[in-house]
Symmetry: C2
C-alpha cells in the first residue's frame, strides 16, 4: 500500500522527528523538514499523505503526532523481542546498545556455541548454548534474530531459528542468506558501506 | 561514468565473486551469477559491460579477473588507512574485525576522550587522546575516519577530522552529519535496518 521508496525514507523521518522532539520543537513545516532532510518539500508532503495527511495549511506538521504515526507504521509501538546469535565482538556491541530497547526492541536472549562464552553475562543476560536452541527459544518467543556469527555458520543458524518460528532476521555476517516466503531478512553489510566509500574517494581523486 | 545504481551493486558482486573464488570456482556464466544474486542476467551483462566487458561467449566470466577488476573500480587495491574515533562497544568491535584489513583497509589509529580508555591497547594499537588529534593525525595520514561516538559528539568529531584532511567518513552514530564538497560520507544506520525489518514484520501480520 505504501511504496518501497517511501518505506525506505520512513526510518529517517522517524530519526529527524525524534531529534526535533528531544529539542522541544513542537511543529515543523514541510519546507523546513525538506531543508533538513535534503528531500523536496513536495516529496515530503506526498510521502506523509500516504498515511493520513497530518499537515495543516499555515501550521505545518505536529512533530509529536507525526513521530508517533510513523512509529506506528514502522511497527515500533507493538514492541519486539530479539535474540542475538553469536556473542562475539559485534554481538556484544549490539547487546550493549541501549537505544534499541528505547525504540521498542527488547533483547531477551543471547546465544553462542563456544563453551567459554556460554554462561557469561552480557547486558544482564547469561549467554545460552545455541546447540540447545529448541530448549530455550520457544519460551522466549522472540520475533527477531540478530545474526552475528561467522559467515560459514550463518546459513545453518538462520535455518535453525526459522524452524523455531522466528520470522525476522537481521543478518550481519558477510554473506547473503536465502529465506523462505513469510520470513523477512535485512542484511547489514558493513563492508559494503566501506567499499562504497572507497569507490567515492577513488572518484574524487580523479576529479 | 558508471551509474549510481550499478555502483550500489558492485560490493555485492565483489562479495559473491570472492565466495566463488574461495570455493575454487574459476568461471561463471551470467545465468548462474544471475540466479545466485537475484539480478537478471541481462542486468548483469549490462553492469559488467560498463567497465570493459570481460564475458566471453560460451565461456562466461573468469571469476578471478572479474573479482580483481571490480576490486579496482571500488578502489580496494590502492589500500586505505583508517582511524576509529570512539573506542566504545561498537568501535572496539570494528577495530577487532580482521576482514577489513583483508580488503585493503588498514587500521592505523584509535581515538577517544575518556581517560580510562586512552592508553588501552585495542587490536594492537594504543588508544590515543582525540583532544590531541592535531598531534597525531597528520603523521598517520588516514583517508577514512570511522565515527563511533555518541550522536551529540558526531558533528564536532567530523568537523575536526575533516579539518585535518580526512576526506572519507563512515558514520555509525544515530544522526546524519553534513559534510562540505570534496568530502564523502557513508552513514550506517543500524537502527534503520531494524526499523525496516519491524515494518516488514508488521505487513506480514496483516496478510
Ligand atoms: N566485528 C565487526 O566489526 C564486523 C564487521 C562486519 C561484519 N561482521 C560480521 O559479523 C559476524 C561476527 O563478527 P565478529 O567480529 O563479532 O566475530 P567473532 O568471531 O568475534 O564472533 C562470532 C561468534 O559467533 C560464535 N559462533 C560461531 N558459530 C556459531 C554457531 N553456529 N552458532 C552460534 N554461535 C556461533 C562464535 O563462538 C563467536 O563467539 C561475522 O560474520 C563478520 O563477518 C563483523
Ligand atoms: N553499539 C551498537 O550496537 C550501536 C548500534 C547502532 C548505533 N550505534 C551508535 O554508535 C555510536 C557508538 O555506540 P557505542 O555503543 O559504541 O557507544 P559507547 O558509549 O560504548 O562508545 C562511545 C565512545 O565514544 C567516546 N567519545 C565520546 N565523545 C567523544 C569525542 N568527542 N571524541 C572522541 N571520543 C568520544 C566515549 O568515551 C566512548 O568510549 C553511538 O552513536 C551509537 O548511537 C551503536
Amino acid at each position: 500500500k505504501i511504496s518501497f521508496e517511501v518505506i525506505k525514507r520512513l526510518p529517517r523521518y522517524y530519526r529527524y522527528l525524534g531529534e526535533l522532539k528531544s529539542n522541544n520543537i513542537t511543529r515543523i513545516s514541510s519546507k523546513e523538514l525538506s531543508r533538513r532532510m535534503n528531500v523536496t518539500a513536495s516529496q515530503i508532503r506526498q510521502d506523509l499523505n500516504c498515511f493520513g495527511g497530518f499537515g495543516q495549511q499555515g501550521y505545518g506538521y505536529n512533530v509529536e503526532d507525526l513521530h508517533e504515526a510513523i512509529g506506528d507504521i514502522l511497527g515500533l509501538n507493538n514492541g519486539h523481542k530479539t535474540i542475538i546469535v553469536g556473542a562475539g565482538n559485534l554481538g556484544r556491541a549490539l547487546a550493549n546498545y541501549k537505544s534499541f530497547e528505547k525504540r521498542g526492541f527488547k533483547l531477551v536472549g543471547i546465544f553462542d556455541i563456544n563453551n567459554i562464552k556460554i554462561g557469561q553475562n552480557i547486558a544482564g543476560l547469561d549467554v545460552l548454548d545455541f546447540n540447545e536452541a529448541e530448549k530455550y527459544i520457544p519460551d522466549l518467543a522472540p520475533d527477531i534474530a540478530i545474526i552475528t556469527v561467522p559467515k560459514e555458520a550463518a546459513g545453518s543458524v538462520a535455518k535453525k531459528v526459522i524452524s523455531l518460528g522466528i520470522k525476522g532476521l537481521l543478518n550481519f555476517s558477510y554473506t547473503d542468506i536465502d529465506v523462505p516466503d513469510g520470513v523477512e531478512i535485512e542484511n547489514v553489510h558493513l563492508s559494503d558501506s566501506l567499499m562504497t566509500l572507497s569507490y567515492k574517494l577513488e572518484q574524487q581523486k580523479k576529479l
